[in-house]
Subunit: 217 residues, 2 copies
């Protein structure tokens, strides 16, 4: 599958590399078509990797990963272009963390709204599925590295078929179906985004990002 | 131990009953000293249970449980009286849920503040320890009813000795030390209170309140 990955940070590189490993073709998008970090990543991959602007990557991808920082996501997706994103699934991994008031960060949108909802509102012809935003990126693509893969991720989105497709992709990342909880429509992303404040504090308390939430039933 | 339980709802009754079962003396506090729900509860208990106003219960208790609804907590604690609460541990189980805008509720305070912090600010001579606010009350006092008790609760508070005392009380409720995570000072309660939005949605998705968060390390 052709996939556009927006963002050249650790999350974008981790997701992009995993997708390449699974046989997908990936274009990494950034502000310019000659971004250095993207160029290094393309070189590291042996094949199937390319780079371009956000718009190039959005046009290239049949499916789009939003791996940008939450504060930049709406701007980045606007640069990517509604027409390039039209009809496509946007997997939103971003969190609306606001570091401007110091540490720990607060959320720039929360409680009665969420970043995922904002994205869905601005891009009504795309299918936003929020997932993977509640754990460290090493675990996103390798759940078995912790507790035999026995921990939980969430999915939020309005489009049932889109969520089914994302679930298959998550399965290919080794996520078991019983560990993927479909919370419901995109408004349920408020809950998953609001896991970030405790995630960040737990990172400090436990001294490692290598932990996860598990819903015990 | 003499313990004051503020609130006559399901949480107050469940906590009060468990404390009586463990041999403590419990006064349940409410707005009036003849509250009907408190009277029924006192009658149900065979001994060691009494009722009174919030102020009576706060004066009676060497330790205080705040089992009121979050929107009422500050008013209730004010009625209980700073002098009656002075030097005492307040175990804060409340969540600042705001149902005024419809379902699901939002949080009346969150992100850069929390109910627990507000309580600590208004009652600086008390020792606020937030805990048990992230799960159904049946599980609060009987963790072994789910997954052999193997799931997580959090503690937030500024006073290390107070948290040690609360930990012992939680142990007497059958919480194992490895399942109690001390997050740090009272500002970390922001994270635990912000678990409520996802808790409420999971309640809907899973169709039962009989689930829990577990931090997998």
């Amino acid at each position: 599958m052709k996939i556009g990955v927006l963002g050249t940070g650790m999350v974008g590189k981790t997701i992009g590399s995993k997708l390449i490993q699974l046989g997908h073709q990936v274009m990494m998008g950034s502000r310019t078509n000659n971004n250095e970090k993207a160029a290094v990543w393309v070189q590291e991959m042996e094949s199937n990797a390319s780079q371009g602007t956000f718009a190039d990557a959005a046009l290239f991808g049949e499916l789009i990963f939003n791996c940008t920082s939450g504060g930049a996501s709406l701007e980045v997706l606007t640069l990517a272009g509604a027409s390039n994103l039209k009809g496509k699934i946007i997997i939103d991994i971003a969190n609306p963390l606001d570091f401007s008031k110091g540490m720990p960060p607060t959320l720039s949108v929360c409680n009665d709204n969420s970043l995922a909802e904002e994205i869905q509102k601005v891009f009504p012809e795309s299918k936003v599925v929020k997932t993977l935003n509640t754990l460290n990126c090493a675990l996103m693509v390798n759940p078995n590295a912790l507790n035999n893969g026995d921990h939980t991720i969430f999915m939020n989105g309005n489009d049932v078929d889109a969520k089914a497709e994302v679930r298959k992709l998550l399965n290919s990342f080794d996520w078991k179906n019983e560990n993927i909880i479909d919370m419901g429509d995109i408004t349920t992303a408020r809950g998953t985004e609001q896991l970030l404040p405790i995630w960040i504090r737990l990172y400090g308390t436990l001294g490692t990002p290598n932990f996860q939430f598990k819903i015990v039933k």
